[in-house]
Point group: C2
Chain length 122, copies 2
């Protein structure tokens, strides 16, 4: 059992759209990422995904749904099979925490220059 300090972990990396694994429980991973700009449209076939904003502002376009606009201390769950595209606006670097099954692939079935299916613990 270890104690995990969110700010300490965020201080360890700078790259965007590259989630780091903080811990696992019940076959889920808790991850953090720094993001800026636009990610790719994708869906996860069997995995619900929680987004929680630690710093900044995250927008998530969702197919057939209004855009979700998350500020600090706000979260949403994107259900499995739901096409979504996270992004930021105005160059605001945003820090997020994610909860999703260990089986989750970064960009679902899509392959993109941002795709990273070799996520590591931090």
């Amino acid at each position: 059992m270890k104690k995990i300090n969110l700010n300490d972990k965020f201080s360890l990396f700078d790259e965007h759209w590259s989630p780091k694994i903080l811990t696992e429980l019940n076959n889920q991973y808790v991850k953090i990422a720094k993001v800026n700009g636009e990610f790719v449209w994708h869906a996860h076939a069997d995995e619900d995904e929680l987004f929680f904003v630690v710093k900044g502002r995250l927008l998530i376009d969702v197919k057939d749904h209004e855009t979700i606009d998350l500020g600090v201390g706000e979260m949403t769950v994107i259900p499995k099979k739901t096409q979504h595209r996270p992004y930021t606006q105005d160059g605001i670097e945003t820090w997020i925490m994610l909860i999703e099954p260990k089986t989750t692939r970064h960009t679902g079935e899509v392959q993109n220059h941002l795709t990273n299916n070799e996520e590591k613990f931090i």
Copy 2:
């Protein structure tokens, strides 16, 4: 898909040691609770449990392990079967977020005056 604001949700209740369910994903619940004083020693037979401190300070005594001392922005995972007792010190009301399977019973196999196995969405 809804947006959940942590502070808004915490403003809706005052009672201690009575988790409220914010959302669910992948058969897990995300819950919040206000706590103050001592909880009961207990374990969850099949469920890992994540504690994240939003406000205040949470201590967790763990059997055969040193006490875990969590400040704001810190988290830990208590593995299944692990006897643990969360508490606060010095009358500091503490706000926590929990992630645990939907099957999790509040005080494990223990029944106590604090036990609440009828947790509700908020």
